[in-house]
């Protein structure tokens, strides 16, 4: 019996349980009311229906989830006990290959066998699959019936079905909220574990402070020493994300926010604010393509024209400029919020003393809003250094330690993509290095966020 059929059958059973339990509760409660004992009725009939339906479905569903994990092992065991399995090779790898092929043929996802040994195993496999499939289905149905019957006998006019159902609802809400914690733990655990494996091959000091990055040479067998120095990557990330992008984004974002909040007419603000926010909604792959196709060649031609040596068509400047444009809305909306949070009385006081609007802004509003603006910039930096597609497409792969914006530099995210795509042998230092880089990126963005949020919060409290 197939999975979808069982699920459909269970759903049908659940529906029947709901309808019949609801009808029974309604009848019993009407009878109870007729005798004049109104206080003996507790839950609405629908809650009785849900109570019985849940007792029918939940135990069976839990059983099926466990069974789906246990059954393949039982099937393999019974196949190995078959006389046809005696001739299998001893070594585990070819053994599991043959078993996998036989399984694929038995469940119909593969037509014929490449290995004659697996052909002989198809019959036992199909039998075992069938046997355990039927066993699982029968057990699930028995559980559903048992659960439903147990719950059905509890339907009484005064049974507190609603309380029970609500308890389950609350439990599922709590479980849902745990998923965020599990995800965070999953990220930390997977990054730490793979990084730990990496650092057992490469010295962490060499990784954090080495200046030579050439994982290819390590993969080709020249040894892991001296190949995983990540400083050029860190520099490239800071150069593009924290320097060039911010030189573009801070003035443009800040001045846009000031103009739109302090000078622009309501109509202009109504139209320009969403327009600028569209910049944040454009997918990064589009920015990357734009940077690589339009901006980078133009910048290279410009660099050649003014006679700069080492101009590359994959320049740090192209990636940084486009990334800066992408960041403008973040800086702008953070600046907007912080300026709006400055008390109106400070603004009025300054204007009343005869200061012009620009003097009020530069000498009163911005100094007062500075912590918020700084926090916003830190958040923007954390977003910029974690950004991937723009740098993958527009920045280069050469790990240069240079301050020439027209030269090619590489970043942490570019290298993560580079190391993990293509050939995948999961035990080499080359692929594990990506997780170590990911760990560094995770820690840095986390710290930036914590500091930024703390700065913003402190400053808010000062004016509240």
């Amino acid at each position: 019996m197939t999975g979808p059929a069982i699920l459909l059958l269970l759903a049908g059973l659940g529906a029947i349980a709901w309808v019949s339990a609801r009808a029974r509760a309604l009848r019993l409660q009407t009878a109870a009311r007729a005798t004049g004992r109104r206080d003996a009725v507790h839950s609405l009939p629908g809650y009785h229906g849900w109570y019985v339906a849940l007792w029918t479905l939940v135990p069976a569903a839990i059983f099926l989830a466990i069974w789906a994990n246990v059954a393949p092992g039982l099937v393999t065991q019974s196949v190995l006990a078959d006389p046809a399995a005696q001739s299998l090779p001893v070594d585990a790898f070819s053994r599991s290959a043959i078993l996998g092929e036989a399984r694929a043929i038995a469940n119909g996802s593969q037509a014929g066998a490449f290995n004659p040994l697996s052909q002989g195993l198809v019959e036992p496999y199909a039998q075992a699959l069938n046997k355990y499939g039927i066993a699982g289905a029968v057990l699930a149905l028995v559980l559903a019936f048992a659960g439903g019957a147990f719950a059905f006998t509890r339907v009484r006019p005064d049974f507190r079905a609603r309380t029970r159902v609500e308890r389950l609802v609350m439990a599922s809400l709590l479980i849902a909220s745990l998923i965020a914690i599990i995800t965070t733990l999953g990220i930390v655990a997977s990054l730490l574990w793979e990084s730990f494996r990496f650092f057992s091959m490469v010295n962490p000091i060499d990784f954090l402070f080495g200046t030579k990055w050439s994982p290819q040479s390590a993969a080709m067998g020249y040894g892991n020493d001296d190949a995983f120095g990540a400083v050029p990557l860190f520099w490239g990330t800071i150069f593009i994300g924290a320097i060039i992008a911010m030189i573009v984004a801070i003035p443009l974002g800040l001045m846009s926010a000031i103009y739109l909040t302090q000078y622009a007419s309501p109509t202009v603000r109504k139209w320009m604010k969403p327009t600028l926010e569209m910049l944040a909604g454009v997918p990064t792959v589009v920015y990357g393509y734009f940077a690589a196709l339009t901006i980078a060649p133009a910048l290279r031609d410009f660099a050649v024209m003014i006679g700069i040596h080492g101009a590359s068509s994959e320049s740090a400047l192209a990636a940084g400029l486009v990334m800066g444009v992408m960041i403008i809305p973040f800086v702008s909306s953070m600046a907007d919020d912080s300026i709006a949070a400055v008390p109106q009385s400070m603004r009025d006081g300054s204007l009343a003393m005869g200061a012009t609007t620009s003097e009020t802004i530069t000498r009163v509003l911005i100094p007062a809003a500075l912590p918020g603006v700084v926090g916003g910039v830190l958040l923007a930096v954390s977003r910029a250094i974690g950004e991937t597609m723009i740098v993958v497409m527009a920045a280069g792969l050469a790990a240069n330690l240079t301050a020439n914006p027209f030269a090619s530099v590489t970043t942490v995210t570019t290298q993560i993509v580079q190391l993990l795509t293509g050939d995948q042998e999961f035990d080499s230092a080359k692929t594990l290095a990506a997780f170590a880089l990911g760990l560094v990126l995770f820690i840095v963005t986390l710290l930036l966020n914590i500091v930024a949020l703390r700065v913003v919060k402190k400053y808010r409290e000062a004016y509240d």
């Binding site: 609500e166 609802v169 998923i179 530069t362 974690g386």
Partner: protein
């Protein structure tokens, strides 16, 4: 004791000073305007560039090829047209020969290398054409296509002029771009495969992230007590919202693929990874929406005897739903444009058939854009931009829907 003299505002120095301050004011205001205009014009520049390149990607140059089947070296029995017979008929070679007679010696460079597929389909649709001369529209080569639409090499420009004189050249809307999948020949590729992959991935993301996100938001906003446990949940959600997307890709790679052995490149794993990314967005939007439902509603419901669960599910949730949906759509739009985490879980494979289900190898629109942008052939430039236009159109539609929902259903209490 010095006497205080009133400022002489009429004096030369004072006038100069005030003029200077007003000039500074004008300069400052102009700088602000300049920043806004510069940012907006960058957006306009980006969109115009994509439109300029991409609109051509929706059209295709075709050559009306006159095929004299009886005279061609094609050996096919009109009564027994099977897929196998067509596959054995060596159509690519026959097409080459036919094209040489019709278009001259340079025909190889004029026709798309996959032009024979159109001839095969024509024979399949109507086997009787084998006994006569038929005119079949076949796609032109990339070089000719570029020359016909915009700028190509001088030889191709000359060919375009010659073919135009013969009246066999036409440019029409390329329906294949919307119905085909990835390929090696830019004249034959389409976005349907990637689009279907995106739809399946988004479906998985929505099914996983929406219930969990709403449930978490309800729990935190309505039931959770203020204690260290709740603080941990809140901190993890806020952190997850700020974690770079590529880190989610690393998580998907090491947990979903290497630990749980789920299928590589599949919409299932892509959707699960994106769901983890989208969930915090839904939780944060959901909490704000729930927070904005006034307490009087809760008090009224509690007052007439509703249980806490009934208050939330029958009163608070329906009122907060427009806000939650707006946040969900915005989160889904972000997930739709996401590329980096999907590269990590292997969705960058070359996949020429649309996925049949969530466990089949698939690719998504942004990844398809990334893959095409790496192609060497010049014909892919306009295809990449055309795919970008499709993606942007969808994002715009989703955000427009979110704004519409917000304006239509948002209640100001």
């Amino acid at each position: 004791m010095s006497t205080r003299n009133p400022t002489d505002w009429k004096s030369e120095a004072m006038r100069k000073r005030i003029a200077g301050r007003y000039a500074a004011e004008r300069r400052f205001k102009f700088a602000g305007l300049f920043a806004v205009v510069l940012s907006a014009s960058f957006l306009a520049f980006l969109l115009v560039t994509m439109m300029g390149n991409g609109l051509r990607g929706f059209t295709r140059t075709e050559i009306a090829l006159k095929v004299d089947f009886p005279a061609s070296p094609l050996l096919l029995d009109p009564k027994a047209i099977t897929d196998e017979a067509l596959a054995n008929a060596n159509l690519p070679m026959v097409t080459g020969t036919v094209a040489k007679t019709a278009l001259g010696d340079k025909a190889d460079a004029l026709l798309s290398p996959t032009a024979w597929i159109n001839i095969r389909d024509a024979i399949k649709a109507d086997p009787t054409i084998l006994s006569r001369t038929a005119t079949i529209s076949v796609p032109a080569s990339t070089g000719l296509d570029l020359a016909a639409k915009s700028k190509g090499s001088p030889e191709m420009e000359a060919e375009v002029a010659r073919l135009k004189q013969q009246g066999v050249l036409s440019t029409g809307f390329n329906f294949g771009f919307l119905t085909a999948s990835d390929g090696t020949d830019p004249t034959q590729v389409g976005i349907w495969g990637a689009f279907k992959g995106s739809l399946l991935t988004m479906l998985v993301t929505l099914i996983l992230s929406f219930p969990v996100g709403v449930a978490t938001a309800l729990y935190l906003e309505e039931y959770a007590r203020k204690n260290w446990w709740t603080d941990i949940i809140e901190v993890s959600i806020n952190n997850l919202a700020a974690v770079p997307s590529i880190i989610f890709g690393l998580l998907g790679l090491s947990i979903f693929l290497n630990l749980a052995h789920l299928p590589r490149s599949a919409a299932l794993v892509g959707g699960m990874t994106l769901a983890l990314m989208t969930m915090p967005v839904i939780v944060i939007a959901g909490r704000n929406a729930i927070k904005s439902v006034p307490p009087s509603i809760r008090d009224a419901a509690l007052g007439i005897g509703a249980s806490p669960v009934q208050v939330v599910f029958q009163h608070v949730l329906p009122l907060a739903l427009p806000g939650i949906l707006t946040g969900t759509i915005i989160g889904m739009a972000r997930a739709l444009g996401e590329t980096a985490p999907l590269l990590m879980i292997g969705m960058r494979a070359f996949i020429a058939t649309p996925p049949g289900g969530i466990t089949d190898p698939a690719t998504v629109l942004p990844v398809q854009i990334f893959l095409w942008s790496d192609e060497v052939s010049k014909g892919f430039v306009e295809k990449t931009s055309a795919a970008i236009i499709v993606l942007l159109a969808f994002l715009l539609a989703m955000n427009g829907l979110a704004i519409y929902l917000r304006n239509k259903f948002e209640t100001r209490w």
